[in-house]
Each structure stands twice: as C-alpha cells, then as structure tokens.
C-alpha cells in the first residue's frame, strides 16, 4: 500500500507543470540497447552535456521501429527532438512521414559504404550483415550463398524473422541485392539449411552460442565483441563472395522540435572522434568517420563488395520481398 501511495504521488507530481527550468532538455527517442547502461547513451549524454548547457534525456522504446512508431503516433505533440537509431531499411518510410527536418550537418567527409547526401538524416554508425561461425567447430565455412546451398545438409544456420527483427529484414534485402530476379530460387536453395527463424536477434544468437546451429545471421563486427570484451577469438564472420549488405544507422531531427539548433549541435557531436569511439566500442558497429579501428575489429568490407538498395525501392517492395522469403521457406 505504501508503495502504491508513493507511486500515486509520483504520478501527481510528474503531471504538474515542470518548474521553470533554466536549461533546455534535449529529448532523444532511441532503441533500448542504445540507451542501456552499457550502450552508447550514457557516454554521449555526459560528453554533450559538458558543453551544451542542456540536459540530454534518452527515452528508450523497445526497438528503433518502436521509437519511430511512437513519434508517428504523437505527431506534432511529441516531446522528442531527435529520433536516433533508424536504419537504412526504414529510412524511406521515416522520410515519408514528413515529420523530419533538415539537419544542416556537414556530412561530406563521412566514410561510408556509399556517399551520403540525405538532407534529413545523419549516419552515426554502420555495419554489414554476415554469418558468424565458430572457427573451432566449422573450420571451413561456406564462402557464398551458393556454397552454403551446396554444402552438406547438416550445416545449419539460424536466421531471424524479417517482420520482427532488423537483421532478418537485412537478409531479405541482402539476397535481393545479390540475386535480383533469382532471389526466389536462392531462398529455396538455402531453405534446407535453415534450422529455425527466430523472432529476435538475441534468440538466434543464443542458439548459435549454445551450439545448436553452425552459423547465425548477425554482423561482421560481432566477433569483435568476443575478441575485445571476452578475450575469446573463436568466432569469425564468413566473407561471402556475393558481397555484404550494409546497415547504416541514422538520426533525424523532428520538425516539431523547438530546439532545432541544439539538436543539430548534438548530431554534429555524434560525429566527433570522441563520440564515434564511444559508439564503436559500446554498440559494436563501425564508425562513420576515419578513426582508427582497435585490434579485434575486422576491417570493413571493401567498398566494391558492399551492397545497399535504394531506400525508396526498399519501402515500396519490402512486403513483397518478405512474402517471397516466407513462401520459399514454408
């Protein structure tokens, strides 16, 4: 009862008009892992607050899509100034909402798998989808989707459902970018090796770590976590000759934000070496500027092997491509 009373008073207090605040609050919607204690958010908040004369408030939805959906639901009345963590697969959709403003940040010197000139979203990290394997139990991993399809039936992979997990959608786009009109056959060839299709990345990765599957759909940077944080160098990402699909994570400022300049400053801050270093080592993705990669981080895929589809094309065809995948695996 006491606890309830406490909660009740907290509710009352928090609905009262906020006392006149001296400094502005920059509210950033992001995904849960980004805002976690061990994610990039605490470091970014501390670093930016040193100079901005403001308070940074990260609000975590369960996923980046969740953060976007919340802003869509709230419309002009949203508290958010920035949505952070959208990726290239949903950028087209985010743009179509018409909720995002121009960022005004200089992105000309970014080093990314492809030139970036979008006026509304600023990239802050990126990675490539890849199949991660255990070098001890699988000394000779397949080197392409074709090799995977032709491999022994016992070789199993775990992937994620494109309807609920970012990498799952990434694989759909990866195969489409690599095989175009022949994607359906490619899916059918891979199908016998698919152990299961999980709803989230975590479940798939756990299955793999527990030894239930030989390879798991993840990122080229995944082994870096095991090498650097766990001092375990058994894991590696298999290079595929068809190339690797890129995932670029971006942030955008909302038109409804009363703190446009402050928000722009924050996005610029995200590109400083300090912030990039923090993001790299806590989000386990590649930096978007030229800073030195630590030992253990495999160098990014060469530019000519990087795959990325046009954002509008993705938005328009996503559902059809997912149906194609589900149909082939059924």
């Amino acid at each position: 009862m006491f606890r309830l009373a406490f909660l009740a008073s907290a509710l009352v207090l928090s609905t009262l008009p906020a006392a006149a605040q001296e400094q502005p609050t920059l509210t950033i919607y992001t995904y849960d892992a980004f805002a976690a204690d061990w994610g990039p958010a605490p470091g970014l908040k501390a670093g930016f607050e040193e100079t901005c004369g403001c308070t940074v408030n990260f609000v975590a939805a369960d996923s980046s899509i969740g953060a976007l959906r919340r802003v869509q639901l709230e419309g002009d009345t949203t508290e958010a100034d920035i949505v952070l963590g959208l990726d290239t697969a949903v950028v087209g959709e985010a743009r179509a909402t018409g909720l995002f403003a121009e960022h005004g940040v200089d992105t000309s010197r970014l080093s990314l798998p492809q030139d970036w000139s979008a006026p509304d979203f600023v990239p802050f990290d990126y990675g490539y989808f890849a199949f991660v394997y255990n070098t001890e139990t699988l000394p000779e991993p397949p080197t392409s989707f074709e090799a995977l399809a032709g491999d022994d039936e016992d070789l199993t992979i775990v992937i994620q459902d494109p309807r609920s997990a970012t990498p799952g959608l990434g694989l759909v786009l990866w195969l489409k970018a690599a095989y175009g009109d022949d994607t359906n056959e490619a899916w059918a060839d891979i199908a016998p090796h698919v152990l299961t299709v999980t709803s989230g990345w975590s479940e798939a990765y756990s299955l793999f770590l527990n030894g239930e599957a030989d390879m798991v759909l993840s990122y080229t940077t995944s082994p870096a976590y095991h090498i650097i944080a766990e001092d375990d160098d058994r894991y590696a990402a298999a290079p595929f000759t068809e190339g690797h699909y890129a995932q670029i994570e971006v942030a955008g400022i909302l038109k409804s934000s009363p703190h446009q300049e402050l928000a722009q400053d924050f996005l610029s801050y995200m590109l400083t070496p300090e912030a990039q270093e923090n993001i790299m080592m806590t989000n386990w993705m590649y930096p978007v500027t030229d800073i030195t990669l630590p030992k253990g981080f495999a160098p990014p895929v060469p530019a000519d092997e990087a795959l990325l589809l046009d954002a509008d094309e993705v938005t328009a065809n996503k559902n059809a491509w997912i149906e194609e995948m589900l149909g082939a695996l059924r």
């Binding site: 909660l7 709803s199 299955l207």
Partner: protein, 534 residues
C-alpha cells in the same frame, strides 16, 4: 438476473456480490473497448501499405496447434496431479511449486531450457554420446512447440489440479476405502468429480496461451511453416503500421477464440467436490503406486530437466557479475514492488469476479461475468501496448509517469483468468457443501466470506497471490512504447543482456528469476498450510 429457484428467491443473499461481479466484468470489457477505439481513432502520419494475410489458413494452423497443446497439457496435468496426490513424500509441495514456476517464467527461458536438454548440443545428445551413439532427433518443428507449451501449461494445470485433489474431504476417502474401491474406480468416482470442474477453465486458458504464443512458436517452429496469427498482427503493427488492419486481425482473433472458449466455460460441469481437507491416508495397491512413481519420474524427466538446465546454465560465470551490479538490484526492487502490487490487485479482482459469478444461478449469467477476464488474454500484446499508450496519452498524462500503473493493471488483468480458474471451482465446491448451513444460519455475505469461505480457501488464495506476483515479474511488452530505460524489471534486464551479447549475464538472471518464482510459489504453501488440517 432472477432465478426461478424458489430457495434463491427467498433469500436476499448475494445481491452485493452479483453487482460487484457484474460491475467488474463490465469494467474489464470497457477497458478492452477503450484500447481498441483508441487505436482506431488515431490518424497516423505516413502509414504504409497494408499486409496480406491468409487468415483462414493462419486460424486453422493456430487452432490445431492450440488444441493439441490444450489436450496434451490437460492430460499431463491430470496425470501429474494424480501422481503427486497419491505419493506423499517430504518435499512434495516444493516439487509442485517447481512445476508451477514454469508457467510464470518467461516462456523463452523455458524454451531454451528445453533446447539445452533435447537440442543438438543438449544433455540427451551428450548422454547418447557417452555410449558412442548419435542423437539425431530434432526439437525444432511442431513437436518442439508442443513440448515447450506442455511444459509451461501442463505443469501449471498439475499445480491447480493438485489443490483440487488435496481438497477432497477425508469423509469421502473413508467411504471409498471402506467400499474397497479399486485404483481405477477410486480415480473415476472420487478424483474425477473433483477435477472435472477445473478442466474447462484451465483448458480455456491453455488454449488462449497457445493460440497467442509468439516467440516460442517462431523459435522452436523451425521456419515460417509454423506460426500464429499473433505474428501477423505484430507484423501489421510494427512493420507496416497498418493499425486498422491490425485491429481487424485482433478482432478476428478475439471472435474466434471467444467462440472456442465460451462453450467450454458455459458447460463447466457443476460437480465439484471438496471444501475441506485432511491428511487422510489411504494406502494404494502396489500397481497403482508403481504407476504413480512412473508418472512422477517421467514428469520429473520431462518437466523438471529443462528447468534444471536453466539453473545449471545460469549459476555459473555470469552470476557474480550480475549479483554485484546495481542494475540488477534496481530491477529486482522494481519487479518486487510491481509484483506485489499487482498480486494484490489480481486477488481483489478475482475475488470480486468469482464471488459474483458463483452468486449467479443462471449459467449464462455466470459466463457473462467470467468471460471478459478471459478475453483479455486474447488481445495481442502489441495491440495492448498500442492501446494503452494511446489511451494514456488521451488522458493527458505523460506516458513515462503512467508506466508503473499501466504495468500493474495490465499484469493483474493478465493473471486474472488464472486466478479465476483456481478460485472458481473451489468456490463452487464450498457453495455446494455449505450453502444450506450458511442459509440456515442467515449469514450475511460478509459473515459467509469471513467464517466459511475464507478459512477454506487459504491454499487457493496463496496460490493466487503467487500467480499474480510472478506474472508481474513478466515482460514489459505492454509498456514497450512508454519509455523503458529508467524502468527495468528482471525479465527486461535479461532480454537486454541477451541483446547485447551478454549471454552469461542473461543466463544468470534467468536462473535467479526462476528461483524467485519458485520461492514465490513455495512460500504460500508453507504460510497458508495449515488452518484446515488442524
């Protein structure tokens, strides 16, 4: 709602109960309505294409899976409850608590426990390996889904059914023994009537849980051939933001499931017995004893091994790391306070609804009062989270501030059908046995509760508190849009760790969570044990 029963017309008893029950049922139905209309009334910037869903196909597939789960879980539950009731041994209550802990642990934890036993790299494979044999069975596929569901739901059924068997009055047992009933006759004539009243309520819950299951179905399903309608609804909301489509699918699910469970609840056999209990010993034949030991052994192997696997994996390298982290203790505190608040709320709602329901004589009125509590289980989690978010915004309250209240309410409602499945049959049994006495003494509703019902319901009340508590340790799905970074419960912490490569931490939290739920189920059996045996 007047009944034609003259005995009932004569007495004003139960009016307050009927009003309370009906009002609560109405409030719950109204809440569901508010959630749906909040979603439909929102106009969204840039909503994208709608998805295509083969509804009949999905409904059929999901229904088959759910029906199989229900039948298997009830069968397993009856067998286990029977074995546990027959075999009196020290630690029996603790074992029953272990079984019950399964249903409230996050489903994925149990699924991973199952994989740790039966998977390619699992214990069974290791065991075969000792003899140079190879384990080639796969846990992935429809049978894997069923196995996980039966472990979750069958064990819960066993726990509830065991309270019914333990409540069989000693007088009945005495008569049975003096008649020299065979083990089979004893089961048919004495046990079955005690169990039958609980089966439809339990069956309805299990059916709904299996029907709306999502991550387990995908994890163990082995591919998109096995999926549920819930997945399609999730995808309509998250991927396509097709809110109208999602609401339509959710309504289809609601209609379909209601059609299935309403008859089950309506035709609940009214033959419950019990109301008092005693440790009456009726020695069994050797054959029956052997069978009971066999069933229990199988149960232990099938049900307890995955749980033990979770503990074994968790109480390892990640443990000290987790126990020394501030985040863990914060989350534990949040989980405990949320859990206790919603356990109380669950208890109050369940009492209000169950006492109200049993005060009605017409089966239709009983169904009407009971059904809304069940329908809450059918509304997809993603629709609930959207609905709650929009409803809260509609009141002008900041979502972050409302999050704890929404969570407590949502969790209490989630645990409610379980609580009612526990309480309903027990109340009916008490009614049968003591209604006349209560009437002849002209007890008021309160007196009847205080002197007749409450003393006889200690076990059930303890079980309900444990259920309500443990369910609320559950996930934060309902407040996933509310802003969750400053508000973490243990399951959320676990999934967070899992999502950040920290699988050792996640395993440790899963094990601790399992221990916590186990204790929560075991404590009440100690505390509430003995008023009746005295």
């Amino acid at each position: 709602m007047r009944s034609a029963n003259p005995a009932d017309l004569a007495l004003p008893f139960g009016f307050g109960r009927r009003v309370t029950g009906a009002a609560l049922a109405l409030a719950i139905a109204a809440l569901i309505l508010v959630l749906f209309t909040s979603i439909l009334s929102v106009s969204v910037a840039g909503s994208s294409a709608s998805s295509t869903v083969d509804l009949p196909h999905l409904l059929r597939m999901t229904a088959i899976q759910a029906a199989l789960t229900t039948v298997l879980s009830l069968a397993a539950g009856v067998a286990l409850a029977w074995a546990l009731n027959r075999l009196k041994f020290p630690g029996r209550d603790a074992l029953a608590s272990l079984f019950a802990a399964a249903i409230v642990a996050p489903g994925l934890v149990i699924a991973f426990g199952l994989i740790a036993v039966w998977g390619r790299a699992g214990w069974v494979g290791d065991f075969f390996g000792l003899f140079g044999l190879e384990w080639t069975g796969s846990i992935f596929g429809l049978h894997g889904i069923l196995a996980a569901h039966v472990i979750l739901d069958g064990a819960f059924a066993a726990r509830v059914l065991l309270t019914r068997l333990d409540a069989v009055p000693a007088s009945r047992l005495k008569i049975g023994q003096s008649l020299g009933l065979s083990p089979l006759k004893r089961f048919m004539l004495i046990d079955w009537p005690a169990l039958a009243g609980s089966l439809p309520g339990l069956g309805a819950i299990i059916f709904l849980l299996a029907f709306t299951s999502f991550p387990i179905v995908l994890l163990l399903g082995g591919g998109p051939a096995n999926q549920t309608l819930e997945v399609a609804i999730y995808s309509a909301v998250r991927l396509n933001f097709d809110l109208e489509g999602a609401v339509l699918l959710a309504l289809a699910q609601l209609a379909f499931c209601t059609l299935v469970i309403a008859p089950m609840l309506y035709f609940t056999p009214d033959i419950s017995v019990g109301g008092s209990t005693a440790d009456y010993h009726w020695p069994q034949t050797t054959g029956a004893n052997t069978l009971a030991i066999g069933v229990l052994g199988l149960g232990l192997a099938g049900f307890a091994m995955p749980l033990v696997a979770v503990l074994a994996n968790g109480l390892g390298p990640g443990l000290s790391n987790v126990l020394t982290s501030e985040a863990f203790w914060d989350a534990t505190w949040v989980s405990l306070s949320i859990g206790m608040s919603s356990a109380l709320l669950t208890l109050l709602l369940a009492l209000g609804l169950s006492l109200g329901r049993s005060a009605f004589n017409s089966p239709f009125a009983r169904l009407t009062v009971g059904l809304p509590a069940y329908t809450y289980l059918i509304v997809p989690a993603v629709v609930l989270s959207l609905g709650f978010f929009l409803a809260v915004r509609g009141t002008g309250v900041r979502p972050q501030s409302a999050a704890p209240f929404v969570l407590i309410t949502a969790n209490a409602l989630l645990a409610l059908p379980f609580a009612m499945a526990v309480l309903g049959p027990a109340l009916n049994a008490i009614d049968k046995r003591y209604a006349r006495t209560a009437q002849s003494l002209a007890l008021s509703g309160w007196q009847r509760w205080r002197y007749v019902e409450m003393p006889l319901l200690h076990r059930e009340l303890g079980l309900i508190l444990a259920l309500g508590f443990c369910f609320s340790l559950g996930d934060l799905g309902t407040i996933s849009l509310f802003g969750t970074n400053e508000f973490a419960t243990l399951p959320w912490l676990m999934f967070r760790a899992l999502g950040a490569y920290r699988s050792n931490d996640a395993a440790a939290i899963a094990a601790l969570l399992l221990i916590l739920t186990f204790v929560a189920f075991w404590l009440p059996t100690l505390v509430f044990k003995d008023k009746r045996d005295a």
